[in-house]
């Protein structure tokens, strides 16, 4: 089994399953905060996805996308929590 086979047959499928599991949490909620966490984790998993993918296709340029994801996902979370906080203001 080569590394690429390993990535192809193990890493990516497991990451796929993980992302789906997290997505189920996203769908289930129950609170908005749960969705926010799930979304955050989905994005983080996406970074993993990208790095595995960049190994598989030998395309390290894809890691740039991962970089953007890492940075900007954070801002999304900040915005969502800001929203909830504003909404809870009497």
């Amino acid at each position: 089994m080569t590394l690429l086979d390993f990535i192809y047959y193990f890493v990516l499928p497991v990451l796929s399953i993980s992302i789906l599991l997290i997505f189920i949490r996203f769908l289930m909620g129950p609170k908005m905060v749960d969705r926010i966490i799930a979304l955050d984790l989905i994005i983080t998993t996406g970074i993993g996805f990208i790095s595995a993918y960049s190994i598989l296709y030998n395309q390290p340029t894809l890691l740039d996308v991962a970089m953007i994801l890492a940075l900007i996902a954070f801002l999304g979370t900040v915005a969502f929590t800001y929203y909830i906080q504003q909404k809870n203001k009497p």
Binding site: L12, I17, F23, F26, M32, I42, L69, I72, A79, F80
Partner: protein
């Protein structure tokens, strides 16, 4: 001739700037223009009656084959003389009739514009320029009918008149253009050569119908006649000039002008016969049931126009001569009667024949003019009216089919017209002067002289028919018929025609003494008013308006979702139909890449997040789901080699989420507002749309593609544009203009957002 035609336009333009000057005393000076034109055209009588035709042509829009081409032959000369002659008298009359009116200058402006248009109409040798002038007469008529613009009835009548004549105008346009296409030219004189081609063409009937449409509306033939009585709300000079003497005869002119081109066919003749006959009888009967002088005159005018159409329909040279003569006759006596009515109206403030009596005592010259016009209208010798009537009977008698019927109809018409003429021209002046009119002021000479001149001319032509011959005979010649050695005579000997004349006069006079116009009569007619074309048109128009409202409300119902679904359904319909016709659905699946689990996972996430956006009840959840969707798309872009896209997609999505989040928390709840059925309906529409897109994609993917351009980019990105990220090189170099505009879009959006949130108009700022 160009100058002759343009003179009126120039004068009306002059009035725009120099209106104030002509508003007062100098108003009468404007009559110089029609007078000089009359003199100018009179100068051609000799030449034209000698068979001469004067032509002039000026280039206008040669690309369309449109020239300002003018022909002065017998037909146009007759009309030109009428237009300028009667025009002169009306101009003179108006200066007193509307003395001191604040808009007198505008009135003259419209009037001279009309005169010029009418001249242009009858002189045009080009169908398009004829149409141009035709429409200008309609428009000037609109302004003149609506001259009393503060009265709602006036405004309505103006609109009605414009609508009906406008309908005719459209018809004329279509007829002229088709005729031009078939005949190969718009020049009328050239079309004469191709009349056989035209008659044989499959478009002959449509052409004739269009031409009839124009003529019948303009000349107030049944059932389009109703605008004419309505237009009587215009000041009397207008009624005189436009609505009895000249403009309404434009339709007659058109028929006569095109007789040599389109006439002499079964369809042409019988249609005109029938329509003319119906109109003359119908209108003549109607004249019985009026008590308003102008109303009576309006209906008798319609009837007279019917007679003219009837005569043109007969088509023989005798009939055409009768028509030509009758045009003159009618113009003379009807203009007189209108002018007389105007004087009565002006001096007594009423036009009700049931109260008008004995006015001869206060306005004798007017009474004389009225009397002379009445006997001319009655066709009593030695008036020119007698000549006209004789010719009419003569030609009708010569008809091959059903002469008895036609004679009966024309007889009835003539009797009723005699009655109408007497009522209008004689009855106001005879009998005892009622108290109320005792102090009526005498009309000034400038008022009574014009009708007097017309009336006397009528008698003069009757006594000396040779005077009218050089005007009337060339008309027939111009229509392509030859008259041989005929002459107009008062005395033809004892023949059927004479007996008919005697019968007409006798019965008519008896009728005048038996039947007095009364309120009762008017009311009895009003009971059937709802059946009249006017009433039917009014009802039809109301329905039309209703339908318009309904149609407009069905499509433009204010609901955005209905607009969207209409558009989408339209797209589905067209594209679906086209796809159904052409799609092969034979996809070559082997060329498509295999599917991996991670792709499926992303797609599954995508699908579910879409579902979630659509069906969730929470706005914020929807927005978060959009985030998931964005990430899924981002991952797809990563998988399929588009890192720049992935970056951008994700950043933009996050930014959008932030915007949403900042905006949303003040909004109300995210409710499901539509009912179940709407949702099902919308669901079906949406899925149909989606399916079409899917099928379309698959079809496109199955067809070959040319990648020359992207290959060029790849080969030259570094070599020529010094960049290795080809996408970026495209963005800033190969297709840099796109990017420039893209950032402009952003800047505009930002300004828009800034303005949308910061700009609050104060009350003082609004609008």
């Amino acid at each position: 001739m160009l100058i002759a035609v343009l003179l009126g336009f120039v004068f009306s333009l002059l009035l725009v700037v120099a209106g104030k000057f002509f508003r007062g005393k100098p108003a009468i000076l404007s009559a110089i223009i029609p007078l000089s034109l009359f003199v100018y055209f009179s100068g051609f009588i000799n030449e034209v009656s000698g068979g001469g035709v004067i032509r002039q042509s000026f280039k206008w829009v040669p690309s369309f084959g449109v020239n300002l081409g003018f022909t002065l032959d017998g037909l146009s000369l007759l009309f030109s003389l009428m237009i300028t002659g009667i025009g002169f008298l009306v101009f003179v009359y108006t200066s007193t009739y509307l003395k001191g009116h604040e808009y007198l200058d505008r009135f003259y402006g419209y009037l001279s514009m009309f005169m010029a248009s009418m001249l242009g109409l009858v002189l045009s040798d080009n169908m398009i320029s004829l149409f141009v002038f035709w429409e200008l007469t309609s428009i000037s008529s609109f302004f003149l009918i609506g001259f009393n613009n503060k009265s709602e009835a006036s405004r309505k009548s103006a609109i009605t008149a414009l609508a009906v004549t406008g309908l005719g105008g459209m018809s004329l346009l279509a007829g002229a253009l088709i005729l031009g296409s078939v005949g190969g030219t718009y020049t009328i004189s050239e079309l004469l050569n191709s009349n056989q081609v035209i008659a044989d063409s499959p478009y002959y009937i449509p052409i004739v119908i269009f031409m009839f449409g124009a003529a019948f509306t303009k000349s107030a033939q049944f059932p389009f006649h109703f605008w004419l009585p309505g237009s009587m709300l215009a000041p009397t000079p207008v009624s005189t000039y436009l609505h009895s003497a000249t403009m309404v005869k434009a339709g007659i002119y058109l028929l006569m002008r095109f007789t040599p081109i389109l006439g002499n066919t079964e369809f042409w003749n019988s249609t005109l016969l029938i329509v003319g006959a119906i109109t003359m009888v119908y209108a003549a009967i109607h004249a019985l049931f009026r008590k308003d002088l102008k109303g009576i005159l309006a209906y008798s005018t319609i009837s007279a126009l019917g007679i003219l159409v009837f005569l043109i329909g007969q088509g023989t040279e005798k009939a055409l001569l009768a028509a030509a003569l009758f045009i003159v006759v009618h113009a003379l006596y009807k203009a007189t009667l209108f002018l007389v009515t105007g004087i009565i109206d002006l001096q007594t403030q009423t036009r009700d024949v049931t109260v008008l009596r004995g006015l001869r005592k206060v306005m004798l010259p007017v009474a004389i003019a009225g009397f002379l016009a009445a006997i001319s209208s009655a066709g009593i010798p030695p008036t020119v009216g007698f000549l006209g009537k004789e010719l009419t009977y003569e030609s009708t008698l010569a008809l091959i089919s059903m002469p008895v019927l036609w004679i009966a109809l024309i007889l009835i018409t003539k009797i009723l017209l005699l009655y109408a003429g007497f009522v209008a021209g004689i009855s106001p002046f005879v009998g005892k002067l009622p108290e109320q009119f005792a102090n009526t002021k005498k009309p000034g000479m400038l008022l009574w002289l014009p009708p007097m001149i017309l009336a006397v001319t009528g008698i003069g032509f009757g006594i000396f028919p040779a005077l009218v011959e050089p005007i009337v005979f060339p008309v027939v010649t111009a229509m392509g018929e030859s008259l041989g050695n005929e002459h107009l005579k008062l005395w033809h000997g004892f023949n059927t025609v004479l007996w008919l004349s005697i019968a007409t006069i006798a019965i008519g006079t008896v009728l005048y003494f038996i039947l007095k116009p009364s309120q009762k009569l008017v009311e009895s007619a009003e009971r059937f008013e709802f059946l009249s074309p006017k009433a039917l048109t009014t009802v039809g128009w109301a329905y039309f308006n209703k339908v318009s409202s309904l149609w407009t409300r069905i499509f433009q119902n204010g609901y955005l979702r209905n607009y969207v679904s209409t558009i989408v359904v339209f797209l589905i319909g067209l594209a679906g139909y086209s796809l159904y016709q052409t799609a092969k659905f034979d996809l070559d699946l082997s060329t498509l890449n295999e599917i991996t689990l991670y792709e499926m996972a992303v797609v599954a996430m995508m699908f579910s997040s879409i579902f979630f956006v659509v069906f969730t009840k929470s706005r914020l959840t929807a927005v978060a789901s959009m985030g998931v969707m964005g990430l899924s798309i981002c991952l797809l872009f990563v998988f399929y080699s588009a890192p720049d896209l992935a970056m951008t997609q994700f950043s933009i999505d996050t930014l959008t989420v932030i915007l949403f989040v900042l905006v949303l928390y003040r909004l109300p709840r995210y409710l499901k507002l539509s009912d179940y059925r709407t949702r099902i309906k919308d669901g079906i529409i949406s899925l149909a749309f989606g399916s079409i897109i899917t099928v379309l994609i698959l079809e496109v993917l199955a067809s070959p593609v040319d990648k020359t351009i992207s290959k060029y980019y790849a080969e030259n990105a570094y070599v020529l544009a010094k960049g290795k990220n080809v996408v970026n090189v495209i963005l800033v170099d190969f297709r840099g203009s796109d990017t420039f505009m893209e950032i402009s879009v952003l800047a505009i959006a930002a300004i828009g957002v800034y303005a949308l949130l910061k700009l609050h108009l104060k009350e003082t700022d609004q609008h």
